[in-house]
């Protein structure tokens, strides 16, 4: 019926994309963790953009890193009778009762970026990235790039014990397993920060014959890579050339570095989790298509061949 109306509307008013979507005007509540990092700011910006493009009214709530604020926001969304709820959960536990309230009110909930340990029946689906896969993509790029040549890799890990650090390490090691020419010779935490990335890279350079024995750097995030690139430059070497640089996240500054030839590759952790979420919601509401419980976003690899200047321009105003 709705499709028919849409068709009528399209026929009557011409191919106006905006109008076709007002036919299923929706209100979606979005409970965001807060603004803990540039990536999350970009996620918020993109969610708002995606909602606007689809003619969805987005009710946005910033939880300032507190679960109780998120629970209060979800309850208020339920009271307002929204059509769906997006939730980026700050922690994994303690969501059972509020998710059940949403389920009882027949409001589908989609998790963004992070998972919860509640029963899977309590939410429609979760959109997120596979962190192990990201590490694999980075490792595979390096294996392909060195093409059988000896390569001693230094690794800048994320915060010790954090799940991105563990998973991105596992994925990379998986990808280089069986390629004896590529091996990790030094691995230390750089705490996901630029300053630590630079300091630890300086010590790697000292320890490995002023960097002469290092063929590549693998950093668990771009910020550490950006810091390390400065350390490499200050040691009188050419990052991207003397030492290959591959990292993960796809923040604007790494695209600048790739454009300048100082970094070689980055694996994007897309902040556009809302796009797939809205698609899944639309399919579910249009004809009841139940999405899988986990929708994995693309971990796209960017190198110098992928228009880094353009990617930088596209990202610089997202709030990173």
């Amino acid at each position: 019926m709705r499709n028919f109306l849409t068709a009528v509307a399209l026929a009557a008013f011409g191919a106006s994309a905006a109008l076709s979507q007002t036919a299923l005007a929706q209100t979606v509540g979005f409970s965001q963790i807060g603004s803990e990092s540039g990536w999350r700011a970009a996620e918020t910006t993109l969610t708002k953009q995606q909602a606007e493009e689809r003619g969805i009214t987005l009710k946005f709530s910033d939880a300032q890193q507190k679960q109780e604020n998120q629970i209060a926001a979800i309850r208020s969304f339920i009271a307002q009778g929204v059509d769906a709820i997006l939730l980026a959960p700050v922690v994994a536990t303690g969501w059972d009762s509020v998710l059940k309230e949403a389920k009882d009110a027949e409001i589908p909930v989609v998790l963004l970026d992070r998972q919860v340990d509640s029963d899977k029946s309590l939410y429609l689906t979760a959109v997120g990235s596979d962190l192990v896969h990201e590490g694999e993509v980075a490792g595979q790029w390096l294996v392909d790039h060195v093409a059988g040549k000896e390569c001693r890799v230094v690794e800048l890990q994320g915060t010790t014990g954090s799940s991105p650090a563990i998973d991105r390490k596992t994925g990379f090691e998986k990808a280089i397993a069986g390629h004896d020419n590529v091996k990790i010779v030094r691995s230390q935490t750089g705490d996901f920060t630029r300053a630590q990335g630079k300091e630890v890279m300086e010590s790697f350079l000292q320890a490995e014959g002023r960097g002469q024995n290092i063929c590549a750097l693998y950093a668990h995030n771009d910020d550490m890579a950006v810091g390390a690139i400065q350390a490499i430059k200050e040691a009188g070497l050419k990052p991207g050339d003397d030492i290959l640089v591959v990292s993960i996240d796809g923040v604007p500054d790494i695209f600048k570095a790739i454009a300048a030839g100082e970094a070689n590759a980055t694996v994007e952790l897309t902040p556009n989790m809302a796009g797939p979420a809205f698609d899944a919601l639309k399919a579910y509401m249009d004809d009841g298509t139940v999405p899988p419980k986990f929708i994995q976003t693309d971990s796209k690899l960017y190198t110098k061949a992928d228009d880094p200047e353009g990617e930088y321009e596209r990202r610089k105003n997202l709030g990173y």
Binding site: S35, E36, S37, G38, A41, Q157, T160, G161, R186, S187, Q188, T189, D191, T193, R194, A195, Q196, K198, E199, V200, E202, S203, F204, Q206, A207, R210, D223, V226, G227, Q230, E234, A235, G236, D253, G319, Y320
Partner: protein
């Protein structure tokens, strides 16, 4: 000579630590000249130690007045953010530095007024800025890493002068200036007096309130300078992470330097060697190549050993043992030993 005797335990500790690191990383003491610059782990320590070193200078003075400044790490984030904001808004380099240092001094003034005029305990007064100040820095950077490409500002973090890293020179110059100011005038004595007994020194005519405020302003200025160095180092202001937990390293450096947290006698030189000891531990762990899970455990164990060896009780026993041995060796009668103290 008295200075040497005062810092001897710290120097011995540092030497022992260097020997230990050299065991794990034989090239530790090697310094080469590359492109007219001195390069080597020791130079890295001198450079990397700048941030904690600068904080330690201010912290030593604050601790000498029986206070503590928990806000210095946060003040670094604020001054770094101010510097990055100013330089990206076409303020001249001199103007940028002035603004960033003013921010640091203002933060110190706030702390000093809370402590000296309002009478709040230092740990509480500075805790306010420690917890809220990062928010101020985030407002300035809008929650992003505010990057800049000004070579003049970057020079302060990663440049070289006569082959020596600039941060090391800044650190050394600031420490020397404040140490001279304290010891070539009566200022140091007055600071110590206020630390030992504030009301007694006030009765003796010392303007304790003004002195206290001035000490916190000095600490804020040092933190401001450290913030500039840290932003210049990565060519950007990272409000979330700049100076994070460094106040604790600075307090630790003061303690390793043999200064009492109860105020009174202080030695900036000893504190600075304390800062060098901490940086040597940090860099040594990185060079030795242990898995990162062990970083903090190793650091904690080393700090524990150092503090236990320096503890007054143990020092007293060592002295007794040493004296007894000397007596036995030289047959000196008991009454002749007093000069040794």
């Amino acid at each position: 000579m008295t200075v040497l005797r005062r810092i001897a335990p710290q120097l011995v500790t540092l030497a022992a630590l260097v020997a230990l690191v050299t065991l794990f990383f034989p090239d530790f003491l090697r310094i080469e000249v590359v492109d007219g610059r001195f390069v080597g782990p020791v130079m890295d320590i001198a450079k990397r130690g700048a941030q904690v070193g600068l904080l330690t200078v201010g912290m030593t003075l604050v601790v000498a007045t029986r206070g503590i400044d928990l806000s210095v790490g946060t003040v670094m984030a604020i001054s770094g953010a101010v510097a990055a904001w100013a330089i990206t808004h076409d303020v001249s380099l001199a103007g940028t530095l002035a603004l960033a240092l003013t921010a640091g001094a203002a933060a110190g003034l706030w702390n000093g007024c809370l402590v000296a005029l309002v009478g709040i305990q230092p740990i509480v007064a500075t805790l306010i800025l420690m917890t809220s100040g990062r928010g101020i820095a985030q407002l300035i950077t809008e929650g992003r890493i505010l990057t800049f490409s000004n070579e003049g500002l970057a020079f302060l973090g990663s440049g070289d002068l006569l082959g020596i890293p600039v941060p090391a020179l800044i650190w050394f110059a600031a420490a020397l200036a404040i140490a001279l100011l304290m010891r070539r005038t009566a200022l140091g004595l007055l600071v110590e007096a206020v630390g030992v007994n504030r009301s007694a020194s006030a009765l003796a005519g010392v303007n304790a309130a003004v002195l206290l405020v001035a000490v916190y302003v000095a600490s804020g200025l040092c933190a401001g300078l450290a913030g500039i160095v840290s932003a210049a180092d990565i060519r950007g202001a990272d409000a979330n992470n700049a100076g994070l937990w460094l106040e604790l390293d600075a307090i630790l450096a003061v303690v390793i330097g043999g200064n009492s947290l109860l105020g009174g006698r202080f030695s900036i030189a000893a504190s600075l060697i304390g800062a060098l000891i901490i940086q040597t531990i940090d860099t040594g762990i990185l060079l030795a190549g242990f898995p990162s899970e062990y970083n903090l455990v190793i650091k904690a164990a080393l700090v524990l050993v150092i503090l236990v060896l320096q503890s007054p009780n143990l020092a007293h026993q060592w002295r007794t043992v040493g004296r007894a041995a000397r007596r036995r060796r030289e047959g000196v009668p008991l009454s002749a030993k007093a000069q040794g103290q």
